[in-house]
């Protein structure tokens, strides 16, 4: 049984009297560091967003304000604090923050996790908090021993008086340290002084995940709760014409039938009873918004939209003129499908709305969004809404959406009961906020020497931002829809990018690496085509365009070197290269593949990756994230697509949505991390975009076929081989 904890209690526990507490406060003027006493005074004015607490028993607790969805924040964020604090890593624990203004992301001003930003946005704030704590502990020790501060040094949770060899652990110093003023600008370590960061330390969340102690959203139980399941329209925009609530209520265990905005909710004592109730409803659904919508009509609409005028997202030089005088011109189109997140844990949320407050347990990437929709749904003030972020059974952008919260809260409000709402896999697959399908037309021009002089890129794509963050759409341009295009690193003298916003009833959302998940493919595939048209090596061709981009050049050269680019490979195999810049990081990959000309399957033998993400925290987590991104990228490249039929989503489960299985993974995946003092980038997403183009380019190298549409399924490969 969960113990209920109010926000005030959480705060009081976190700041419990004994022990040293440091809050780092993000303000418009930079970070401010406060002690617990100071914070209480200034609580109204400032919102401390992260704490470290050193307890008398030497345990260091770091409160993590980001959602753990597999990317390792429960480990990496505490590592940052612990290093500056000179803590003993074995004594460091983490605690998940509730949803509250004081835990907002200092850059976004909201509490949410995404965009591969957790470390980038928290790095300096957390370092300062750790460093301040260390300085206070050093001072406390010097005062205790009545010795000069300079004679004391910290290491692994202990202060040592160098001349006499006396030591005191941090726990023994907390009371004195807590009474000292917090240094306003503590000295930070030099990189060479790091003792915890840059080390491949084991993750703090793994033992609980292995021993089944980790609690995901679906593992929530609340006294007196009912299970809810929602009968949903089978097609977009359909309304219920009729349903038999009385029949559902006759089913054993069924307690309520509640029509809400998104469907008809059946609440019962047990989950199976709720599903039986759903069946008993015998709901008749209306026709929906677009009964004719299917794969074919959607594709046709994309092609049609290509002939309409869009918004110019980038204009450099004069692309039309350059193309007109080009010695060689190439044109190609690329069609990419809608994709599902298919998190292994389907959407779920447990909510208990009472008159005086509301408590929510949810695997979410968007705590601020959860509070906002709950406020709207219930009329309760934010301080009356307590959100428990559980472990997330996968995120990938899916759990930025708050629909499941809205539903659980609405049902709980109507029934007055705690509600555990579970989505079936079919509901999850058919009601996703999908990675948008998209259609690109690229025209490239070469001069007589084979240099790329012009690139014209027109993309038809739904706008994720228009739905998720409308304020991000400026002058009609969705910056994610044109990611990698308007900010293209290649020094093409004439560049033209046009964006046509595509509107369809299909909901779209953030999917791991967002716009780069498709534009990384089209740009790097077509760059390869241009290299071949120029008769040049694809790596050399790229490097020639990257003379003013040292970080891109370095990541490409590194991966080429590690992969043995240019060296012979087994006969029949092919090698392809691609790079992508996204979320502040540079990733290049080389794929080695073979194509089975009989059955059309593509086998990826080896993927070599290099990443430059600037200062690193945990190299083991970086390697795991890149490996995972490569596999997710390969899954999308080879098998994933959402199919549409009769006005809705046809794909319903893993029989038709083909996620990559162990038999399909590359035999070898190698990850090389470039140590770079350059600006810090993210790690969760940037490993994905280069995979599909590296594989497609390798397929061309192996079999001479250009696959410009995804996924590269065996039937597509066979067709291309036949036409070649």
């Amino acid at each position: 049984m969960k113990t209920s904890l109010t926000r005030r209690e959480f705060l009081q526990k976190s700041l419990a009297g004994t022990g040293l507490v440091v809050a780092a406060v993000a303000t418009p003027f930079g970070d401010r560091l406060l002690s617990a006493a100071e914070m209480k005074k200034e609580e109204v004015t400032f919102s401390p967003n992260v704490w470290l607490r050193v307890a008398p028993d030497d345990v260091v607790t770091v409160i993590v304000n980001k959602s753990e969805m597999g990317q390792g924040v429960d480990t990496s964020l505490p590592m940052i604090v612990a290093d500056e604090l000179d803590a003993d890593w074995r004594q460091v624990k983490f605690r998940v923050a509730p949803a509250e203004a004081r835990y907002i992301d200092p850059v976004w001003g909201k509490q949410s996790t995404g965009g591969s930003t957790s470390i980038r946005h928290m790095y300096m704030t957390l370092r300062k908090a750790g460093a301040a704590g260390r300085e206070m502990l050093l001072k406390a020790a010097a005062q205790t021993w009545r010795v000069p501060l300079g004679e004391c040094e910290s290491s692994k949770g202990t202060i040592k008086h160098k001349p006499t060899g006396r030591t005191l652990t941090y726990g023994k110093l907390t009371v004195k340290a807590a009474s000292l003023p917090v240094p306003k600008s503590p000295a930070l370590k030099k990189e060479s002084q790091f003792t915890i960061m840059e080390k491949p330390l084991d993750r703090l969340d793994i033992p609980d995940k292995v021993h089944a102690r980790a609690r995901f959203g679906i593992d929530t139980f609340v006294d007196g709760m009912l299970y809810a399941s929602i009968e949903r329209p089978p097609v977009f925009g359909a309304k219920a014409v009729s349903y038999d609530a009385a029949a559902a209520l006759k089913v054993k265990g069924v307690r309520h039938v509640v029509p809400i905005k998104t469907g008809i909710a059946v609440c019962a004592e047990k989950p199976d009873e709720a599903w039986r109730g759903r069946t008993a409803l015998k709901t008749n659904w209306g026709k929906g918004a677009d009964p004719g919508l299917d794969n074919k009509t959607l594709d046709e609409q994309f092609v049609k939209a290509m002939n309409t005028r869009g918004v110019v997202a980038k204009r450099r030089g004069n692309t039309d003129a350059a193309l007109a005088k080009a010695a060689k011109k190439l044109e190609a189109t690329f069609m990419l499908p809608y994709l599902s997140h298919a998190t292994m844990e389907t959407m779920d949320c447990t909510a208990h709305v009472r008159k005086d407050g509301c408590e929510i347990w949810v695997p979410t990437q968007n705590q601020t969004g959860v509070v906002e929709v709950t406020e709207k749904e219930t009329g309760l003030k934010p301080e009356k809404i307590m959100v428990h972020t559980t472990y997330l059974g996968g995120g990938f952008g899916r759990r930025f959406e708050t629909q499941v919260v809205k539903e659980a809260v609405a049902i709980s409000k109507i029934t007055g009961k705690p509600i555990k709402l579970l989505w079936t896999r079919e509901e999850d697959m058919k009601n996703d906020y999908y990675r948008p399908g998209n259609y690109s037309k690229i025209i490239g021009g070469l001069d007589e020497k084979g240099s790329l002089i012009a690139w014209s890129h027109k993309i038809v794509c739904p706008s994720v931002f228009e739905h998720a963050m409308p304020q991000m759409v400026k002058h009609g341009i969705d910056t994610e829809a044109v990611a990698n295009l308007d900010d293209m690193k290649y020094g093409v003298p004439n560049l033209y990018v046009e964006y046509v916003k595509f509107d369809a009833p299909v909901p779209v959302g953030f999917w791991r690496s967002v716009g780069s998940s498709h534009n990384g493919f089209t740009v790097e595939s077509f760059m390869d085509e241009m290299a071949h048209a120029a008769g040049k090596d694809p790596l050399e061709f790229r490097l020639n365009l990257l003379k003013e981009q040292p970080r891109v050049s370095r990541v490409l050269k590194t991966v080429a070197d590690k992969a043995g680019w240019g060296k012979p490979i087994p006969k029949g195999d092919g090698r392809g290269i691609a790079y992508d810049f996204s979320f502040g990081s540079y990733v290049a990959q080389v794929a080695e593949v073979s194509v089975n000309k009989k059955d059309g399957t593509i086998k990826v033998h080896r993927v070599v990756a290099a990443i430059d993400c600037g200062p690193i925290v945990n190299p083991a987590i970086i390697e795991a994230q890149l490996t995972g991104a490569i596999i997710m990228g390969l899954s999308a490249a080879l098998g994933e697509r959402i199919d549409f039929a009769d006005g809705g989503v046809e794909t319903s489960n893993f029989d038709t949505y083909k996620l990559l299985r162990m038999s399909q993974i590359p035999e070898k995946i190698e990850v090389h991390i470039i140590k770079s003092g350059d600006s810090q980038g993210g790690v969760g997403e940037p490993g994905l975009p280069p995979l599909a183009p590296a594989v497609a380019n390798a397929v061309f190298n192996a079999a001479g076929i250009r696959l410009r549409n995804l996924p590269m399924t065996p039937d597509v490969v066979l067709k291309a081989l036949k036409e070649a």
Partner: protein
């Protein structure tokens, strides 16, 4: 009333016999390590042992599980070579599918003390992982096999 033997403990549950074993384990008995993923036996998140064999608990009507010995992830001892290897090789990312992966791996190692790569892939191919931990799982199974031999 349905009688069940789970992790060597006897349970008596008031439930219809056609309810999948998964939901009885998870939601009736609150042994939450066993996870729901697809409900059609294609992802392996709900894998448990039934009389020592890896089975998808979402595909077994609870009535059919009577009289059989069921083991869930909670019943796999903490020093089991698979659990030790999963920590050593730092397998989980989000962790949701990993109970099913570990149960599948443990059953494989019961049958095959030192499985080849092909055997590992054959046994594990029904277990999906969206985070892409497959290479880590492979390494962990090999590590567990080594440990198992040594003990």
């Amino acid at each position: 009333m349905i009688s069940l033997d789970i992790n060597r403990k006897k349970y008596s549950v008031d439930v219809e016999p056609d309810v999948p074993l998964l939901w009885v384990i998870r939601e009736y008995l609150r042994l939450t390590g066993t996870k729901f993923g697809c409900g059609i036996g294609l992802c392996g998140s709900c894998t448990v042992h039934v009389d020592g064999k890896a089975r998808r608990s979402c595909q077994i009507p609870v009535g059919d599980a009577q009289g059989k010995k069921i083991t869930t992830i909670e019943g796999l001892r903490e020093d089991h070579p698979v659990k030790v290897a999963w920590i050593k090789e730092q397998v989980p990312q989000c962790g949701y599918c990993q109970s099913g992966q570990m149960m599948q791996a443990a059953a494989l190692l019961e049958e095959e003390k030192d499985p080849s790569d092909e055997k590992i892939v054959e046994a594990m191919n029904g277990n999906l992982c969206r985070c892409g931990t497959y290479p880590f799982i492979k390494r962990a199974i090999k590590s567990a096999a080594k440990e198992g031999k040594g003990s």
